[in-house]
Symmetry: C2
Subunit: 347 residues, 2 copies
């Protein structure tokens, strides 16, 4: 304020508009929000003056009164993974249509940062949170407590079950089984698996699908060919190098992986080792990210509908926010096999 009581801050308030018109704030508020019980002519005058003065409603004040911010938090583990930007695009699509804004936070697979972000989102009083857990999110009680504070949560892609929280994912286990079955159909017997971290659902589910396929086909599972790894190129390359170091008779003739980045890392390792794909070793991924179709050879993989996951997750969260009795749901979108060259198929 200056000495004479005028604002120095340029932002026009309802009160100022009202003063300029010689009306009460309530009348102005009603007019600007298209409420009934305002004289049409008064309303018109108000709208004109408000526009002329450059009035913008202050949502902070509105939120304080209404206990609603029309804001949702989005917590993702790594925006650098090509899958997530697509998910975010889907979330943005739905939430912007519904006039919600999204707070994006990137945990960098760091559970501590994830927790701090969520605390900050709570302080900002978001109406709900979409979460894909970081690898290290093993502390289930955190999300349980979070849920008990009453905030609406929906998990996507990487979920924690049995917490009464909805989850939007894909049919990881079935898809993983299918792509492994495809390798088996192509005649491979010594199939290895680069397994993701068991702390995240996708790690566990995809590994389970892999095991099912082998078991169903009557192929004995050689545990030495299952290598636990991370979710990045570097992790995949390292893990593949371990497999390549096996005695020649134990070396796999095909490799299934937890995701495309690890498959791409593995491809690099195989090439550097001097072997051919798929002639010496076939390989398949999981994600169908943007590089899968252009790598040499093109990567057979599972197409995860990232954009749809985002849309569905956002939709479910908005329903959960706006509908008192929205049921808890586990949605599995269909992720389908995309056959390219890396698996030794030509069909």
């Amino acid at each position: 304020m200056t000495k004479d009581g005028k604002k120095t801050n340029g932002i026009v308030t309802l009160k100022e508009v009202a003063a300029a018109l010689g009306l009460s704030t309530m009348t102005v508020s009603r007019a600007l929000n298209d409420r009934p019980n305002v004289n049409p002519e008064t309303k018109k005058r108000i709208q004109e003056v408000a526009t002329k003065m450059g009035y913008t409603p202050n949502h902070v004040a509105k939120s304080l009164v209404s206990n609603r911010t029309y804001t949702i938090g989005v917590v993702i583990p790594e925006i650098g993974h090509a899958f997530f930007p697509e998910v975010v695009r889907g979330i943005d699509e739905i939430s912007s249509e519904a006039n919600y804004q999204i707070f994006l936070t990137n945990s960098s697979e760091d559970f501590e940062k994830e927790k701090r972000s969520i605390e900050a989102l709570r302080a900002k009083r978001v109406d709900g949170i979409l979460v894909s857990t970081s690898i290290k999110s093993t502390d289930f009680s955190f999300f349980e407590n979070l849920k008990n504070t009453g905030i609406k949560i929906v998990f996507f892609d990487r979920c924690i079950y049995n917490l009464g929280i909805s989850c939007i994912g894909v049919n990881d286990r079935v898809a993983s089984r299918q792509i492994t079955e495809h390798l088996i159909k192509n005649g491979y017997k010594k199939i290895a698996y680069l397994s993701g971290p068991p702390e995240v659902t996708i790690g566990r589910e995809r590994l389970a699908g892999f095991r099912e396929a082998l078991t169903n086909a009557g192929i004995e599972i050689n545990e030495d060919r299952i290598v636990e790894t991370g979710l990045t190129e570097i992790d995949g390359k390292e893990a593949m190098n371990k497999l390549l170091a096996l005695p020649k008779q134990d070396r796999p003739d095909a490799v299934a992986t937890v995701n495309d980045p690890s498959a791409l890392g593995a491809i690099e390792a195989i090439k550097e080792y001097g072997l051919s794909i798929p002639e010496d070793i076939a390989i398949v991924g999981f994600t169908n990210e943007v590089r899968a179709s252009i790598i040499d050879p093109p990567l057979t993989t599972i197409n995860q509908p990232a954009y749809d996951v985002g849309k569905r997750a956002a939709y479910k969260l908005l329903r959960t926010i706006e509908n008192e009795n929205e049921p808890v749901e586990n949605v599995e979108l269909i992720a389908n096999l995309v056959i390219r060259k890396s698996c030794g198929s030509n069909s």
Copy 2:
């Protein structure tokens, strides 16, 4: 509220903590904000009870008083372009360190959506906005008016100049000239250019760099070989097909492009046409996105430091917010040449 005046809403307020302790809200507020003049023992008791009750400060209320939200808006044109997620990662890095949250909005290259998003961000009273303009953002007056409302703005990557707004970009023109010079050095003479939309800075600057290189080398510019295109794979493919349709003697022996996606589209067109890269036609990109190194042949391109652009832009915005007299600045980060196979070099 229920009839007896108790909250049904689970969120605990300062007042409730105070009531539980038989103290005033002020004492509780002071204790929880580590202010002086609180009896250490009282403070301890307060902190314990607050934690037990699950109290979280309400930033909405704080913001209303302080006129600061510790929130910034990020407006990007297309999160599907691999460049932008990396920028966002940089922005998140800086802003989360400073305890700011980011509102992410994706305009999908749609100026109307961009404007709506920015209005919404204003209503939410963000402390500042980071903007990379959509292709269609030709209405300079919009940003001029926006700036006049007093909100802090910083442009990144795609800027509008002469508005007194800081810009964090890369040395587009120089880098574009350098990569073109590299083609010239490799002996190419009939160099074509897939030019981006002239409405965005990157379109204009990179084309200017291309022209400079040819002019400096005394090569006459054949305007038929400059094709205006969009920024996506499809655009690049279309534009390349136009060049391939030229009479054989006019067909380029090398192509420079406005960005990697258009280069990738062009590569597809060239391959489908049955020509070899770089033997028949050399090609270079601009961005160094994630696919550039794995496409066949690997793409010579300009490495744009996306993550650093994000960090610098966020840093500049935070300084502009927190520092009354922060100067307007045009920052050009260095984007350097990455030589791979597609340009016919082996060094």
